[in-house]
């Protein structure tokens, strides 16, 4: 079940075309087991397309990728069993209760029936929504729903967690909590793959790939990227590095 190498994700020359438009233009990178990996880019840079290919939601036009040791095209079912995915838009059933939502996920993931109760309680406690588990999801505050979605994505103890812009529209305090939680997951050995366009947040990542218009413009640890892109400027941050890179690639 487990891949032999240390790489949780291996991406090679991945291309996605929608008709004439080439959203992802042949990107190659890898993500190591247990690290927090950030895919950075502005809106429309190809972040979501990439994450959706890696989760087996859309098929790549060409190129290859292995996620948790499985080929994303020929073994997409196995990929889906090994990952948790939280999409950009809140996508749980708002007309169902948290309890019913979790029940749905429990039924679909390979979670043994004897562990349902334990997993259910774990999600409710982790998301801190135990006391509202029978209220309608649509009546919960945004932050609570977000925690429920994250809990559902972790329900089956996936090897890799994919988060597409998880903190958009979330207040700073919740955001800090969120990154603390991600750090905990990473310490438990779960690989976390995050896309974001908030550069200050990306400092929390162990390693980063920056993409623009479907191509990789920089990769490495946050410190490495800052050093390479803005040499000599003391106190530069990822934001500055990103803006510099964007200016460079602009025609």
């Amino acid at each position: 079940m487990t891949p032999s190498s240390d790489d949780a994700i291996l991406v090679q020359d991945l291309v996605k075309r929608f008709g004439e438009f080439e959203a992802v233009k042949g990107i190659t990178f890898s993500v190591r087991r247990g690290e927090i990996f950030g895919l950075l880019g502005s809106n429309g840079s190809g972040k979501s397309t990439t994450i959706r290919m890696l989760c087996g939601i859309i098929a790549p036009t060409s190129g290859r990728a292995r996620v948790a040791g499985y080929d994303i095209e020929s073994q997409s079912e196995e990929v889906k069993h090994s990952i948790g995915y939280m999409s950009q838009k809140f996508s749980l059933y708002e007309d169902l209760t948290p309890f019913e939502n979790i029940r749905f996920f429990l039924g679909l993931y390979n979670v043994d029936r004897s562990r349902w109760k334990e997993r259910m309680e774990w999600v409710l406690e982790t998301a801190r929504i135990t006391e509202v588990k029978d209220r309608l999801t649509r009546d919960l505050p945004q932050g609570w729903r977000q925690r429920l979605a994250l809990g559902c994505a972790l329900l089956h103890r996936p090897e890799i967690l994919f988060l597409d812009e998880p903190t958009s529209g979330v207040d700073p305090v919740t955001r800090r909590h969120f990154w603390g939680f991600i750090r905990e997951l990473s310490e438990q050995g779960i690989t976390v793959f995050v896309t974001t366009h908030y550069m200050d947040e990306a400092e929390n990542c162990d390693r980063i790939v920056m993409i623009d218009l479907g191509t990789i413009v920089a990769q490495g640890s946050p410190a490495q990227i800052i050093r390479e892109v803005c040499p000599g400027s003391e106190g530069a941050d990822l934001n500055e590095a990103f803006i510099t890179l964007m200016a460079r690639s602009a025609p």
Partner: protein
Amino acid sequence: MSPRNVGAVMRKEFNHIVRDPRSLILAFIIPLSLILLFGYALSLDVENVRTVIVDHDRTRESRDLVRHLASSPYFRVQGHLESTAEVSVVLDSGTAAVGVIIPPGYGRDITADRSSPIQVLVDASDPNFSNITLGYLTAFINTYNQRLLLKFLDKNGMPAIEPPVDGRIRVWFNEDLQSRKFIIPGIIAVIIMIAGAMLTSLVIAREYEAGTMETIRSLPLTAVEFLLGKAVPYFFIAMTNVLIAVLLGQVLFDVVMKAEFSLMMAASSLYICVALALGLLISTVTRSQLLANQGAILLTYLPSLLLSDFVFPVTNLPRVLQLISSIVPATYYIEILNGIYLKDVGFALLWKDFAVMVLMLAVLSGLSLFILRREGL
């Protein structure tokens, strides 16, 4: 395919239905009202045709004619008028559909064994109705003539003669010619389409609109499991509707579904599956609940009602509509139901209709699966 995944989708779909009982109300109220509406209002039988009489003659003979007309179950004499002009007023206003005008001298002519004309005016604004009425009138006048003829022979001391051609007509399958016996199966076909296709047409579109389709795609769930899980709860709703319709047909309209129940259930199950597959396909293609609902009305409800041999006989339709009728699932289901209930024939004669519906089911669900798989399920 894993039964557990199907079960999970089923349970979720069931939760949705319970949470929003509006769809459940739609699923039961509409069929119920349709049975009542069609069963009581859409009687294609013509009886008690409202008739007015203008008797200028006022003799024993003319009164005899009127009495015979009034005793027929097909005509109800509403009153006597004074002039032809008054007949035209009641025909115009629609208070009567037939006016019989007996000229002065009618009694004298009949007594003298001469032919006498009587005038009959018929409101033909509904051609179907007036055709039937014309048939009744012709039959009535023939019978009455025969009576007078026999009386004439008797009076002149001649023996009664047999008519040269003695047509002995028997109607089969629906001996009382009650259109209800034909209408109830048709209503069941329309109801299943409404409960089945219109409700399921919403269920995948809803996932697209709520953005939850993205979650579904990311889950280890195959397109077959997804479709099956979506369809099963609605199968039971539609089946409940069939049983309610059969029961109401029996209790309210005396349409006893006497033939093999198992064959009826088999045909209904198959037809329900076709309806569900059609609804799910519409939902998958449109991705919008509003569009799906309109599409479902256009593609399921109306054709089932109008092009299925239910309301309009297919043989009278233009060629193009006949072709469309041959791809309307209700056409085959109604044929089976009529075969079962009116003709009491078995599977040996109905297997072709079954086969066509199986083919439809395969094509419709195949298309949905193809689209969903392309969508990443």
